[in-house]
């Protein structure tokens, strides 16, 4: 019996006349490494923000880590980590100060936070830079710090919203390796959004999102078999009728 980490039922969001997310039905199991694949404007960030209690759903419901995202928003937030699409670090503070600031916001006592911060700095290759202001870090290192901060309070579910977007190929590769290492972490569910097929490929399961609705859902192998094609790119084309890359030119 595997517990459900994310359970969305008919989850949807409108911004005025814009239907950003139609009605999403989605179950993500605990410890799953889950990918949400879609082009720009598909509704990936909207989905993540709804699940992270930052947006109120227009319709439907969702439970994350067992808690209702609307009625139990504080409990939900306590159990999730969220790495936003754009970095949210304080660039004037040092690497370490950013982490201790977050530790206090997440109510970690000093004797827990200290060792945890040391551990994360080593894990994310930031130990030598701990006293440097964030503005002095490279883009890849900032993203690594964003992720380290998201893990500080040992969340049950970690949301990564396009974590490698905007990085040069080399930083992308090394950051991706750090992200892959999170899979083995005990019981952590990773919910990753991306518009790169090569990042969706290694996921346990992938949901394909297009214009606010779910176009396909399954393991990468299942999706390819069902569509009778050999790549996730071709799956996207077969399921939506248009290519994934063309619309991500923006």
């Amino acid at each position: 019996m595997t517990a459900t980490a994310i359970d969305a039922r008919g989850l949807g969001k409108d911004f005025g006349a814009i239907r950003a997310l139609g009605g999403l039905d989605l179950e993500v199991r605990q410890a799953e490494f889950f990918g949400l694949l879609g082009p720009n404007g598909a509704g990936k960030t909207t989905t993540v923000h709804l699940l992270a209690t930052l947006l109120r759903p227009t319709r439907g419901t969702a439970r994350v880590a067992g808690y209702d995202v609307v009625r139990e928003d504080l409990e939900t937030r306590r159990r999730i980590g969220l790495v936003f699409q754009e970095t949210t670090l304080d660039r004037d503070l040092t690497v370490e100060q950013n982490l201790s600031f977050a530790a206090r916001l997440w109510n970690l006592p000093g004797r827990v936070a200290g060792p945890r911060i040391d551990e994360l700095l080593v894990q994310f290759g930031l130990r030598e830079r701990r006293r440097d202001p964030v503005r002095a870090l490279s883009g890849g290192m900032r993203r690594a710090l964003d992720i380290a901060r998201g893990l500080l309070h040992e969340p049950r579910v970690l949301f990564l919203d396009e974590p490698t977007a905007g990085l040069d190929p080399r930083s992308r590769r090394s950051l991706w390796e750090l992200i892959q290492r999170l899979r083995s972490a005990s019981g952590l569910t990773v919910f990753l959004t991306t518009h790169y097929v090569e990042e969706a490929e290694p996921c346990d399961r992938v949901a394909v999102l297009d214009r606010g609705s779910l176009a396909a859902l399954g393991t990468p192998a299942e999706l390819k078999r069902a569509a009778g094609v050999s790549s996730l790119e071709a799956v996207f084309l077969a399921r939506t009728g248009h290519p994934l890359a063309a619309s991500s030119a923006a």
Binding site: L89, D92, L105, L108, P109
Partner: protein
């Protein structure tokens, strides 16, 4: 509790990193004392009753609190632009806790600056209000800091970007300063302006500071003009209302979604 401490510590760290802000906030009141002091003294009708520079002391302290607290709270706009606000909004804390932490941080910055400047100012002007006056003065500084910090947070929550900063200076900070009694008594202003004085939190803060520091001149019309209890009550009401409004505004969806972050492309 720990979250509030975290927000306050971050405000302090940011302030200490900005050397320029530190220097200018401490130097500003003395520049005013020298230039405004010399200029206004020549036309000040209280001459004979009170030395204008002494009359100016409570107003300058009020000004230090205003710049310190209100501007610190306004930095929430840069937090929003830099994304730090989103990170605070995804923390497992209530919006009211966030608003309180921000306001307390701003109050701490404003009051510390005012206490340092106050000590220098009082010894420079050889103004000795006595222990009760000093105590009331400190209370006035803290209450003004809370009220102005909360007000700054409300402004910050309604502003899209720090580009509106000049607008805040022109339409909020300077009118508040000139209609506060900091530079001249407000009792001779016309009815319209006097009405504005009564909705100006800084006016109550400065009045309370006058009660505290200029008690000796209470009979000459240059000390505090409103009852102490009224000053205290109005400042506390401003702080409470500001906090409640700021918490509600910060909790709006616009606090995190992209429209609030990027100017429409």
């Amino acid at each position: 509790m720990r979250a509030i401490a975290g927000i306050v510590v971050r405000e302090l760290l940011r302030f200490l990193r900005q050397r320029g802000r530190l220097v200018s906030s401490l130097a500003r009141p003395f520049v005013w004392l020298v230039f405004a002091g010399a200029g206004f003294a020549t036309v000040f009708s209280g001459a004979g009753a009170i030395d204008y520079r002494r009359y100016l002391a409570p107003g300058l302290l009020g000004m230090v609190v205003m710049f310190g607290s209100l501007l610190a709270a306004l930095s929430t706009v840069t937090d929003r632009e830099a994304g730090v606000l989103r990170m605070m909004l995804v923390a497992p804390i209530r919006r009211s806790t966030l608003a309180l932490g921000k306001t307390l941080g701003a109050t701490l910055l404003g009051t510390t600056q005012a206490v340092v400047v106050g000590a220098l100012l009082l010894s420079l002007l050889r103004l000795w209000p006595g222990p009760a006056g000093l105590l009331l003065g400190c209370a006035a500084i803290v209450l003004s800091g809370l009220a102005l910090g909360a007000l700054g947070l409300v402004l910050a929550a309604t502003m899209r970007s720090i580009e509106n900063f000049a607008g805040v200076m022109n339409f909020v900070v300077f009118p508040m300063l000139f209609l506060s009694g900091a530079l001249y008594p407000v009792r001779r202003l016309g009815p319209w302006l006097r009405a504005l004085v009564h909705v100006n939190p800084l006016a109550y803060g400065v009045d309370l500071l006058k009660h505290a520091l200029l008690g000796e001149w209470a009979g000459t019309g240059y000390g505090g003009e409103m009852p102490v209890a009224l000053d205290v009550a109005v400042l506390a009401a401003f702080a409470a209302a500001g906090l409640a409004i700021a918490a509600a505004l910060l909790g709006r969806e616009g606090g995190v979604t992209r429209t609030a972050f990027r100017s429409p492309a």
